[in-house]
């Protein structure tokens, strides 16, 4: 199910039961903990023009509905404030299933193969991390605003690192 909410920067491809409490950070039928997400969760990165990603998302939707792919998100427009001139699609899965998911992507014409772990991404969005600091810079935030953004990131992402036994809860994007 493709969810294109204009209030979000991202377009998502979810399993339809997401609205009935279905989780996508699941492995072997069990919700993943923060620690398991940091160790195993990640995504294949696909870059392209919006039209090509929209076409691919439509093709991949059935795999999400069949639970062969847990969840997908992609940019509605290139995140130029981060220095990127293409839209980015992220096809999420557990590292232990990633080659199966890659085979699906390859069968739909994806060639550039790049896996980024969620841990790496969270580190980049943590205070002092490359992406968070670039984002703050791009928004011309004053010092107090920047501190508030860093504190929000510290609380939100820090809990994932500090409480590895808790069940992982994704946040709204």
């Amino acid at each position: 199910m493709i969810v294109d909410d204009p209030n979000s920067h991202f377009v998502f491809v979810y399993h339809p039961e997401i609205y009935y409490g279905k989780r996508y950070t699941v492995y072997d039928g069990r919700p993943m903990t923060n620690g398991e997400v940091l160790e195993n969760w990640g995504k294949w990165i696909i870059l392209g023009e919006l039209a090509s990603l929209e076409k691919l998302a439509a093709e991949l939707n059935s795999y999400v509905e069949r639970e062969s792919i847990p969840v997908i998100k992609y940019d509605r427009e290139p995140p130029r404030n981060l220095g990127i001139d293409e839209c980015v699609m992220m096809v999420y899965c557990d590292k232990r299933c990633r080659e199966t998911v890659w085979a699906i992507l390859e069968s739909h014409g994806v060639k550039l193969k790049a896996w980024v772990s969620e841990k790496e991404t969270m580190e980049m969005w943590s205070p002092g991390g490359f992406l968070l600091e670039r984002w703050i810079e791009s928004k011309n935030l004053d010092e107090n605003q920047a501190l508030a953004v860093r504190e929000d990131a510290r609380v939100r992402l820090g809990s994932v690192f500090e409480r590895p036994e808790e069940i992982f809860s994704p946040w709204t994007q």
Partner: protein
Amino acid sequence: MGATIRLPGSLKFWIGGSEEVNCECGTVRECIDYLSETHPDSRARLFDEQGEVSSLLMIFLNGENVRHLDGLATSVKDGDQLAIIPLAVGG
């Protein structure tokens, strides 16, 4: 046969409009050097002012970030796929 170096569409101007280049190199570092030697427009983007491979790039060998392998010294063999993307894409 060699290895294939792939770049996303937005970076293909680095290599003359193509999205991939074939090379016969023994390590990731040699692949990057080959790319910069054969496509000089890419040099300023591949390397920083100190001549080190830019920290603003992520380099993958067969999908795996070379940081998790042996870095730039990672061996490359026939049929391998090297991918280079901007670091910012990883978020």
